[in-house]
Structure formats: C-alpha cells, structure tokens
C-alpha cells in the first residue's frame, strides 16, 4: 500500500487498511473503509460515528466520482480522515483538497515542491465546496 505523502490533520493516523464497503457493513468494529469509484458513499452515512478513515480510490485520475463521494461525506458531517489513494497527481491536488480530502497517498510519490505549489496556488474560489473557503461571492457581499 502506498505511503501517505501529505496529511493535513493532527490526529494519529489509523494504521489499518480500509476494508471494502461490503465488508464494512458486516464488520461492526471496523474504523477504516475503502471506497471504489462505483461504491455509493451514502451507504456509509449510517456508520459515520465509528469511521475514522475513508480511503477513496482513484484507479485512474480521470474518473471523477471520488470528488462527489468526498463532498457527500463532508456534507453529512464526516470529520475523520479522507484519504485520496491511487492515481493521484499534482494537478488534481487542489480540487481534491477543496472537496474535503485531507490526506493523500499517491501510488507514485509526487515531487514535493510541485505539490506544495499546487496546494497553495489558488487563494480564492468562485464556489463553496467542502474546505470551508469563503467563495468570491461571499467576499464581494460581505
């Protein structure tokens, strides 16, 4: 399993790998789950209380279903770690972060300088998402 290369949390990481959504439903003590693109993030909503880690897998970076999964979890109040794994590339980092991901375990480690620049580049956004950033319209209208 790929290492977590970037993490924006202070709590202790969960050491266990995430189980599949199917297995998670049956394992009442699991705290970590792994979502594949075809999984429905809303299946996890009844179990948010015991979840500490959700890994969202991007088998190919062009499959954007994980962005919706992340926002759905954050919108439902999930506050645990949301980790993007798989084909995670420098130029997806900012979008992923805005959708609520706070940990990144790219299959191929990223150039740290490029990644830092990507995280920091955009200070504003036109639309609210899951990162708490006030959109431009909120800044315009105080």
């Amino acid at each position: 399993m790929a290492e977590v290369q970037f993490r924006f949390r202070d709590d202790e990481p969960v050491a266990d790998p995430g189980v599949t959504v199917d297995a998670f439903g049956a394992q009442s003590n699991a705290a970590a789950v792994r979502l594949e693109p075809g999984d429905d993030a809303r299946d996890l909503l009844p179990h948010l209380g015991r979840l500490r880690l959700v890994e969202v897998n991007f088998p190919v970076f062009g499959d954007g279903r994980g962005y919706s999964a992340a926002r759905i979890l954050r919108e439902a109040g999930y506050a645990g770690e949301l980790r993007a794994v798989g084909d995670v590339l420098v130029d997806q980092l900012a979008y992923l972060r805005r959708c609520g991901f706070d940990a990144f375990a790219p299959e191929v480690p990223l150039d740290p300088v490029d990644a830092e620049a990507a995280f920091a580049r955009y200070e504003q956004a036109y639309q609210p998402a899951a990162d708490g950033l006030r959109p431009v319209w909120a800044l315009r209208h105080g």
Partner: protein, 542 residues
Amino acid sequence: MYKYDTYDQQLVDTRVEEFRDQVRRRLEGHITEDQFKPLRLMNGLYLQLHAYMLRVAVPYGTLNSAQMRMLGHIADKYDRGYGHFTTRQNIQYNWIKLEQAPDILADLASVEMHAIQTSGNCIRNTTSDQYAGAAADEVVDPRPYAELIRQWSTFHPEFSFLPRKFKMAVIASDTDRAAMRLHDIGIKIVRNDASDLGAAFYVGGGMGRTPMIAPCINPFVPLDRFITYAEACLRVYNRHGRRDNKYKARIKILVHELGKEEYTRQVEAEFAHLLTQGVEPPLAELERIKAQFTEPPFEVGISDEVDRSDPDFALWLETNCLAHRQPGYVAVTISLKPVGGIPGDASADQMRLMADLARDYSFDELRVTHAQNVVLPHVKKADLYALWQALDAAGLGTANLDRIGDIIACPGLDYCSLANARSIPVAQKISERLSPRSDEIGELKLKISGCINACGHHHAGHIGILGVDRKGVENYQLLLGGNEGADTSLGTITGPGFDEDGIVDAVDRATGVYLANKQGAERFLDTYRRIGMAPFKEAIYG
C-alpha cells in the same frame, strides 16, 4: 458588458501561471503526455494533425473591441494571421506552438479573456443568444445568468473530471437562437404567471453520434436557487453517468437510460439536500452582474428610415440586419461566409476592422454566433450605409445570413485529428455552386460535420452533411429536415453517401426539388416537412 473585478482578474492570472508551470514540467519531462493532456485540454489546447490548436473562450459570445483587437493580435503574433470562429461561439487558432501557449494566455488575461475549460471533461464555456440585449422578443437579457454560470463552473472542484464534456446554453426568448435543446443543459429564463423570473431546465440534449433533443425536467426553478439546481443535475451525472464507453458517457445517455422521470427524481432529491448546503450565490451577486449588462445609451427620437437606393446595400440590409427593440437601431450580422470562403475564418486585419467598427458604431460590443458569424448588436440605422461600405471593402459584406452560402462547417480533416473527411472544401464548392441562386432559394441552413462528433451540427441543418470514412475514402452522407430553435428536429439520412462532387450535386438537386414544389412563402424546411423525403430521394438517386 461584464467587467472583471480584482477577484476575477486574480483567478485568471493565477491560471496563466499555473499553466506556465504545467508546460514547463511537460517540456522538462516531469509529466507524461498522458498526464499533461487533460491539463492542456482544460486550457483549450488540443494536439491536432499538424500543430497545437488553441481554443479561446468567448463567454456567451460577447466581446468588446479591445478583446476583438487582441484576437487579431494573437492571430498575427502566434498564428498565421487568421483565426476560426466556432459553433461554440469561441475562436480557435490552428498553428500554435506549445512553448508560446502560456504567453498567449497572458495576453488574453490582459483583456479579461482566457481559454479556461474550452475543452476537457468539464463544464465548457456557456453559450447564449447572439442578439441578447437587442432582441425584441426576449424576456430579459440572458447573459447575466450565463455569467453567473461561468463563475460557478470555473474550476469547479467536483465537476472537473466528469464522464465527458458538458455544454450549457442560456436563452431568454421563445425564438431559440442558441440551439438550447441540443445542449447537455439548456436553460430558458422564463416569467411565470406571478410575473417572477425563473429558469426552465432542459437536460440531456446533444448531437454527436446519438443526437437527442433535451426534455424539460423542471419548467420553473426560482432564480435564487438555480445554481443549486444545476449543481444537483451535475452531481447526479458525475456519480452515475457511464464511464465504461466514451461514446455513451454524455448526460443524454444517462437521462435516456434512466428515463426522464427517474433522472428528475434523483436530481430533485439531490437538490433538496444541496439546498441545505449553502451553495447558491446570493441574489445580490446576480444583481451586481446584471448592473454590468445595462442598456447602452441609445439615442431616442431618431429616424427609422434608411436610404435603400444602392441595391447591393439594400440586399444586405434585408438579409443581414435584424429588427432591434430600440427604434432607429438594428442588430447587424457580419457574414464570415464569403462565396467560396472558409466558413468562420477571419484574418487579423478583418478582426481589427470589426473591432474598430464595433467601437465606432455598436457601443463597443460584438458577438460571436454559433453559426460562425459576428454580430454588431446595436447599430444606428443612420450609420448602416457607412458601416456596410467599410465591411464590403474588407470582404465582410456578403449578404447571406441564413442563406445557402451561410454554411456551418467544422475544421474537418484539414485540421482535426478526429475527422474522417474534409468539411471545408465541400462547403466551398457548395457555396460557389449555389450562391448565385441564394436569393431564389431563400432561408436554408446547411451544416457540415467531418465526423460523427457533429461539431458542424449536421443533425440540426435543414440540409446536413456528414463526412465519413468508407474503406479509406472520404464519403458524404446527406440529411434533410433538421432544425434548431423552438421547433427543434433532427435530420434524416437520404440514403447512400456520395463522393465530394456527388454531394455537391445532391445538394443542388435537393434545392431544385424545393424550388419546384414550394408553395407561397414556404422555406426549404417547410416544403420538406410538407412533402416528405420521397420526392427528394427520387430526384437525388432516381
């Protein structure tokens, strides 16, 4: 016109620097072409047959003269002295060098322009009615709503890796001049019985290999929640649109496979949830934008008369000018379809001239139309003759709006790596053959695509032509009876295809059938709808 504030400018400037960094990493070999491709595409940069092509966004088709002048400057400095206006109300440059692309974006940013999301599997540039703000029949100017969509969709973090590209159009009149129902989402701004404005949502239209006319899924979404409704439409699509087959990945397939009712049910459920999430901009933001689309300072009490003693001018006036809602003014369409020319192409000099004329005669405004022409929306009738003389001297005075010479054509196999056949030479030959009979034939919208992707809108042409590859030879299918607008219909294939000369002959024969059968003031389309395909088939293949 919308004017950037510091937030808009900063976002666009940041994008230029980001792209400069991406190009550097590509040129230094840090990222592969596969990884670079979606990045350059989201900045409008395609790799075509001979060179890179850059597609510049013209949001809802509106430009000022400084922007049009910059388009001419870019054509001269970075291309071969011309550009190609497209069916998406954008402009494309066909001979771009990758190393120079960041500089072009920087030049564009200096006049509040960009190439953001003009390609890629994301929400593309929003299109609109080219006569917005001038048309007598509009409920309201649709562009502020399109601008709100532009901002909402720009760098949308959830919807930048959709199953497929996503096109939106906004109109606000019953006469649909933007092919609204052939978009992934078409929005029609309407007024309800209580006189409130709202947005009717049409979802799941499109052309391509499976053309579909979008059904209305909600006839009235209040304006203080229409961005949220769009977000719900997109989220359902992003989660459930097909990703196993790129030819079945557009939202039209999802809506078709789920059925309109089930798709709508899912959207409404997502909408109810998203209403609790605060994604809607306040109405104050819409008002801020609206304040920038105020009417120009028209003169009142001026003459509605025009001296028509010059017959060439009189013909152009009849053909290319639309009645304006303000007495004494018209909206002028500058044809980019000279007889035998390349549809939609303009030289740098022509762009600069159009910019000057917009400054002098149209309150500094221009529009790009989806039929690949340019509009000066607010011209005083008293200025028309001087304007026409200036246009005519520059090869821009062709009187053929919506006539057989006003052909829509994609770049085709002359440029495009997806094409199966050339479009441009076919357009040129048809224009040369049939333009002499233009006035006799009257309104006839002819549209040519060089492949099944239908960038040339062939499904929506009164006469449509589709270029295909038949055993390595270019072959052209003929379609009749398509239309865009309020009575949108899809064309029907006549039968076996033709070679390049054969398709020109077939079009010639089809117009002959029309002229022989037309009754009264019928247009080609009306006659076709009345008499059906059989007489056309007989004349074409008999």
